[in-house]
Structures are given as C-alpha cells and as structure tokens.
Symmetry: C2
Subunit: 227 residues, 2 copies
Amino acid sequence: VIELHDIWKVYGIGDVKVEAVRGVSLRIDEGEFVAIMGPSGSGKSTLMHLLGCLDVPTSGTYRLAGQEVGDLGEVALATIRNRRVGFVFQQFHLLANLTALKNVELPLVYAGMPAAKREAKAREALASVGLGERLHHRPNELSGGQSQRVAIARALVTEPDLVLADEPTGNLASDQTEEVLSIFARLHDEGRTIVVITHEPDVAEWASRTVHIRDGVIYGEERRDNP
Amino acid sequence: VIELHDIWKVYGIGDVKVEAVRGVSLRIDEGEFVAIMGPSGSGKSTLMHLLGCLDVPTSGTYRLAGQEVGDLGEVALATIRNRRVGFVFQQFHLLANLTALKNVELPLVYAGMPAAKREAKAREALASVGLGERLHHRPNELSGGQSQRVAIARALVTEPDLVLADEPTGNLASDQTEEVLSIFARLHDEGRTIVVITHEPDVAEWASRTVHIRDGVIYGEERRDNP
Ligand SMILES: Nc1ncnc2c1ncn2[C@@H]1O[C@H](COP(=O)(O)OP(=O)(O)OP(=O)(O)O)[C@@H](O)[C@H]1O
Ligand SMILES: Nc1ncnc2c1ncn2[C@@H]1O[C@H](COP(=O)(O)OP(=O)(O)OP(=O)(O)O)[C@@H](O)[C@H]1O
Ligand SMILES: [Mg+2]
Ligand SMILES: [Mg+2]
C-alpha cells in the first residue's frame, strides 16, 4: 500500500522557486492499476519520482507498505528501488554503450543473479515486447519506439511488485500500445500494483482509477468498474 | 520541391544488415503539409534524417529544389541544414549544459545573428510554445513536454522553409498538442513546407496528405481537402 500525505516538492533555481507538487495526498492499494493524467509541466513525473524513491519530498510523509520512507537509510532505499519497483522513465535513460540485452540485464546484475539465468530472463523480457530481433543493438541503433520498449523490458525483468511507467506508449502506434498495455494488464492480474502516467485517454481506460493533476495539485479522480 | 527516387538506407551491424528504408520514392511540393505514419521501427525517423540531409542514403537519388543532394559538398549541406531546414528530433537532443533560451538561440549563433536580436527572437519562439516562464531552466529542470516544446521553438527560430518534426506532440496532452499544431498550420499558411511524423491520427488530420510506411516501404497514402 502506498500512502502519500500532504507531499510537497519545491525546486529552487536561484531566487526563483518552482512548486512542482503542492500538498498531494494519495493512497494506492496493493494490486491497484492507477493512471495519472495532466497537462505538460503539471507535476506527473515529479510525483512518480517520489513514488519510486528516486527523489525525496520537500515536506510531507510517504508510507510504503506501512514503512515511513523518510526514515529509511540509503541501503534500504536502494533495495526497494532495485527489488520491488520497476521504473519506465519518460526519456528512457538507457545506457548508450550497452546493447539492448545488456541494458535489460542490468537490474539483475545489481540483484546478484547468475549470468546464464540473467541472460535468459532478459531475452524473455525483450521478446515479450517484440524486440527479439534487436538484442545486440545499442540505443543509437534503435528507433524511438524500440528504445521505449527496451526501457519497458528493463522495468519488468525483476518482476517487481510495483511498476511505475511514465508515458510508456508515447512513441508507439496503436497496435504496439495494445501489446504493452496487455503486458501491464497481465501483471495486474497477477496482483502487482501498476501506476501509469499518460496523456492518452485510450491508455487511461485500462486502469481502474484515473487521478487528474494540474499545477502540482490533484483536483479529481474517476473510477472504472471493468477496465 | 523534394524528390526522392528509389532511396535505400541499409545499416550494417557485423554480418547482420538492417534495411531501414527500402526503395522509397516520394515527392513533396513546396508549401505542402505532409504527415508520415507507421509502426515503431518502420523507417520513419530514418526517412526524415535523409530528408533533412542529416544522413546519406545507401543508394538512390534525392533532389531538393532541383539540386541533387548527393553532389553537394559539406559546406553547402551545412548551409541547407542550418538556414533552410528546421528539425524537431524525436529525442529532442537539447544541449544539457545550456538553458532553454540558449538552446533556442544556438541555430541563430551559427547563422551569425547579433546577440541582442538573437535573444529577442529566441524569447519570442519560447513564448509562442508557452514557455516564457522557463527561459533559464536547463533540460534536466524541465518536464518531458517542456523539453519537447523547447526543441520545437529551436526548430522554428530560424524561420526555415522546410520544417521536419518527428513525433512533436508525443509528450503533450491534447490542449498543448493543438497549440503546437496551430503553429505549424500558421507556418503552412505562410507557404512553408511541413513534414510531421506521428502515430496519432488526430495529428495527421492537420496535414493535407498522409503517407503510410511499414518495414521501410511506403505502401499507401491519402489526401484530405480541408484539413
Ligand atoms: N544505426 C542503426 N543501426 C542499425 N539499425 C538501425 C539504426 N538506426 C535504426 N535502425 C533500425 O532501422 C529501423 C528503422 O528505424 P527508425 O528509427 O527509422 O524507425 P521509426 O519508424 O522512426 O520507429 P519509431 O516509431 O519507433 O520511432 C529499426 O528497425 C531500427 O532498429
Ligand atoms: N530540477 C528541476 N528544477 C526546477 N524545476 C523543475 C525541475 N524538474 C522539473 N521542474 C519543473 O517542475 C514542474 C513539473 O515537472 P514534471 O516533470 O513533474 O511535469 P510533468 O507533469 O511530468 O510534465 P510532462 O507531461 O511535460 O512530462 C515543471 O514546471 C518543471 O519545469
Ligand atoms: Mg513528465
Ligand atoms: Mg522514430
């Protein structure tokens, strides 16, 4: 269970302050599929970085599975990030000097998995996003949509309890979008928690709840019975 | 006028060859607004890099305003790229150590425009995409959609005859998408040539012609009377 309470994130540039997230409270139950929508610059990615323990809030409390994240040390946070959370970044952040296969293996290297098993799992994850033919390409030898799918495979390869995906279908046409979303739906059916940022209503349809954010404030949400 | 005739682009990775563009012939008239659609990995970005003289075809001929591009030297190509073509890259390619304002000024620096005039034009271009408040942010201090809009402003600041935009609205919600597309429509009304890659049918609606590509081959197109 995720529980954010009165979370603020303020960036300081010189004497100018940017309030990216302003007093957000949000509860996400285990096994929920939630979409976050909002205009460009409204605080979606900032909120997701906080959810994934990639950044710390300026103020407010964040409890993950009952534990206060602010009280955790760096080692505990790194374990949460590496073992329990799969993150699809909006700009992919693939390592330019590694092949698609090695990029996807990387989280398993940190988790200490033996090489042969690691490679088999990475191949499986890449095949599931339709990239079995591009294993040895580096990011500059992949198209935009292919790079995005490598980033998705990397997020899923550790079979995390919580998947945080930031515009995961932004570079994909409708049939490949369906492929990715049905992977998320399958993970959701297995009981994992999925949070997807999107500006496309067709994508939000797959979630059971959509949260709307604007200027750093959650101003509304809607639920769906049978996504 | 753009005239591509039997253009191929083949990448070689070890003994594996990837045929990204396979025998494409395409004519784009001056002042036309054309959309290119196709699945991920189908050759859209590769085709656009060839159109913008950022890459050279493996074989085939390309004539731009009657001149055979293959016969031009590096200086003439650089002048075409800098003065006549505005390019919005799919992954933005902003310079990480420059502010939004300086990123947008850069093409005008290459064109030798004086500093005061350069800055005024860059401010105007950023304001036109709704970023008047983020001039001094560097790319890592901007959201995904904001970075995309900086990339759009940079492509337009030299008032090029030809605008090539690769998924320019991929990170934007519907109202900001409309803002960007109405800028392109205004440029089109001024007689400039616009080529937009998109996977969103709503975006292709703005063009007078949509070209469909799959596996490196153009397999169809449709025209619209009143986009
Ligand atoms: N430098 C390269 N070396 C080898 N293969 C490449 C290289 N660049 C691109 N490719 C391959 O060429 C094909 C076409 O890539 P391109 O980037 O043109 O696709 P695209 O239609 O723009 O896709 P997307 O919608 O995902 O951006 C892809 O299969 C890609 O893997
Ligand atoms: N490091 C930073 N320093 C200063 N301001 C920042 C920083 N990172 C983000 N911002 C600002 O915080 C606000 C929220 O950014 P965020 O990336 O969360 O938006 P977003 O909703 O994800 O937008 P998009 O849909 O364009 O990706 C933006 O106005 C942005 O300019
Ligand atoms: Mg974002
Ligand atoms: Mg592309």
